[in-house]
Amino acid sequence: MSKSGSSENKKSTFGMVIKRFKKHKLAVVSLYFLSIMTILALLAPIISPYDPNQVSTAFSSPPSLAHWFGTDQIGRDMFSRLLYATRISLFVGFAATVISTVIGVILGLVAGYFGGVVDIIIMRITDTIMSFPYILLVLVAAAIFGPGLWNIILILGFVDWPGAARLVRGNVLSLRETNFVKGNVVAGMPNRYILFSEILPNTIGPVLVYATSVFAISILDEAALSFLGMGVQPPTASLGNILNGAESITILTSKFWLWVPAGVLIILLVVSINFVGDALRDAIDPSAKE
């Protein structure tokens, strides 16, 4: 009996969030688009008509029935490569976001809750990282550790956390002063309970919103690095290194199918992630009614 009552209420809170989210039409469309792209990316090995690295005899051939998005300079099917590139780009963005958010949340929680010397040390490290020109830091790190899929994920993950750490720390500082946290201190509850069961659930909302913007930025960064040749290495396709092929002026002017789809895809992914993030911000705001 108790269980059913509980799930009913949880559903209503959750339902409220969905209701408010649905008011943002663009965000709903974006969410559908992202879902479709994610499914396509996940199913790439099944859907793609060709092996993305398989070379055919048609070099730089324009879109046709056999090759929907044409072929590249060495005759690889662009449609298959785009599917796999989306898969890689989404994966890099997602993994980097998870790593940076986890690091940021843990450091922010610790700094905000314990304060004092711990806080000072963590926040000075945060300030140091934030005071470097971002893209330079990423480039230098990529140059030191070498390009490659996992290196890129780790570099982006370890460079993006300061924002999340600051956000969480700020939230914790205000939550620490709330009566429900004090009440649990008075009730003799241990720090780990107060941190993870009382404070963390109340910061999840802003963190989630922040994470969507990190996700979008990570996809852009991966594209930028791969475009510069410091990111995901060929023959593995990523949206950035497909654009890399568009450096020559002949391709830009006469072989649009080699760069337009990848470019448009990056824009659409980033824009729709940001729309979803904005709507999420409004939807989970507890002070909002209806």
Partner: protein, 338 residues
């Protein structure tokens, strides 16, 4: 009403001082501090309700936080059954502190908005092993019943309740860990008047049923008078007068107490003949409290020695526990020879 000599104090507050650094002044060496509580001594006896009254900023809530060990005193001690809370090892304090609970003023922020009442109440009881998990459901029903809430509400979230109901949940949470003393920090001042009475009656009834000891902090005299067996009046971090409720209202000694009573619309027949005292000026800053008696800047009876000598709490009448920190008026009554 009570014979204080025979009862052992549950809490003894000894020389308690709590200073807070003033914000935005971290660089200079002698940084200014707010003297929130500046040397208070008193006892809380088992089963009584000690009311602490004073205007905002006088340090009454700070005392409350020291009693439940939310903050460490700058100096002095809060002794619980003779043992200093600030000297206790963390593990021991964690066990002991369940016996000292708190009910907060703002019932909205005193409950985690993301948790159902059930979870809010269950966590401390499970952590401290107060109840077996198979008995938990019944215990939560019992707690809700105790504070007058239907048990069907236990799976609701705090925002689905009214202010009075939330305060009841706050009380249930405090009770869940089987405390001996509850510090009620202005528990009703944020509520409607009709609801205030309900909560005050609930607190009184719970005290009788569970043999609780209360520290009742408030700035209004009405509620304090209704629930308290003894009252301490505070001004700028000091206790200026402390006495059993009836004694204090019958015969307020300290000029600040008199002014406080005059300012409240309570029927106080003994005071009617006298001219009403209306305080002039603002309460002085607690960063630089006045030397000597803290009240001398606004006091009608202040004489030269008030600016120099820091008055102690003195017994008003031999044989009673009525104490006041005003040697001038006590000397005028002829009962204290200065």
């Amino acid at each position: 009403m009570y014979n204080e000599e025979e009862r052992k104090p549950l809490i003894e507050v000894r020389g308690l001082k709590k200073y807070y650094p003033v914000r935005g002044s971290t660089i200079s060496k002698n940084r200014p501090v707010t003297h929130a509580v500046d040397g208070v001594d008193f006892e809380i006896y088992e089963g009584e309700t000690l009311g602490i009254v004073g205007e905002s900023g006088c340090g009454k809530s700070t005392i409350g936080r020291q009693i439940v060990a939310l903050e460490k005193p700058t100096s002095g001690h809060v002794l619980y059954q003779g043992e200093s809370l600030s000297d206790m090892a963390t593990g021991r304090l964690r066990k002991i502190r369940t016996q000292l609970q708190m009910v907060f003023q703002d019932s909205t922020s005193s409950l985690n908005p993301r948790k159902q009442v059930y979870d809010i109440l269950a966590a401390p009881m499970l952590y401290h092993g107060i109840i077996e998990s198979n008995m938990l459901d019944g215990e939560i029903n019992r707690l809700l019943d105790l504070v007058g809430l239907p048990k069907s509400m236990k799976h609701r979230y705090p925002h689905e309740f009214s202010g009075g109901q939330r305060q009841r949940i706050g009380i249930a949470k405090a009770l869940s860990v089987k405390p001996r003393l509850i510090v009620c920090d202005e528990p009703v001042s944020a509520l409607d008047v009709s609801v205030q009475a309900q909560i005050l009656n609930l607190l009184k009834q719970l005290q009788d049923e569970l043999k609780l000891t209360y520290v009742f902090i408030a700035h209004g005299l009405g509620a304090v008078r209704y629930v308290s067996s003894r009252i301490a009046i505070m001004y700028l971090g000091r206790i200026v007068e402390i006495a059993a409720t009836q004694e204090l209202f019958d015969d307020p000694v300290h000029p600040y107490t008199q002014a406080l009573f005059d300012a409240s619309p309570l029927p106080a027949p003994k005071l009617r003949g006298r001219q009403r005292i209306v305080l002039k000026g603002e309460i002085p800053s607690s960063v630089n409290p006045p030397r000597g008696c803290r009240f001398h800047t606004r006091c009608l009876h202040a004489i030269e020695s008030c600016r120099i000598n820091d008055p102690e709490l003195l017994i008003v009448k031999s044989g009673s526990n009525h104490k006041a920190a005003c040697p001038v008026l006590l000397a005028a009554r002829g009962e204290y020879n200065a």
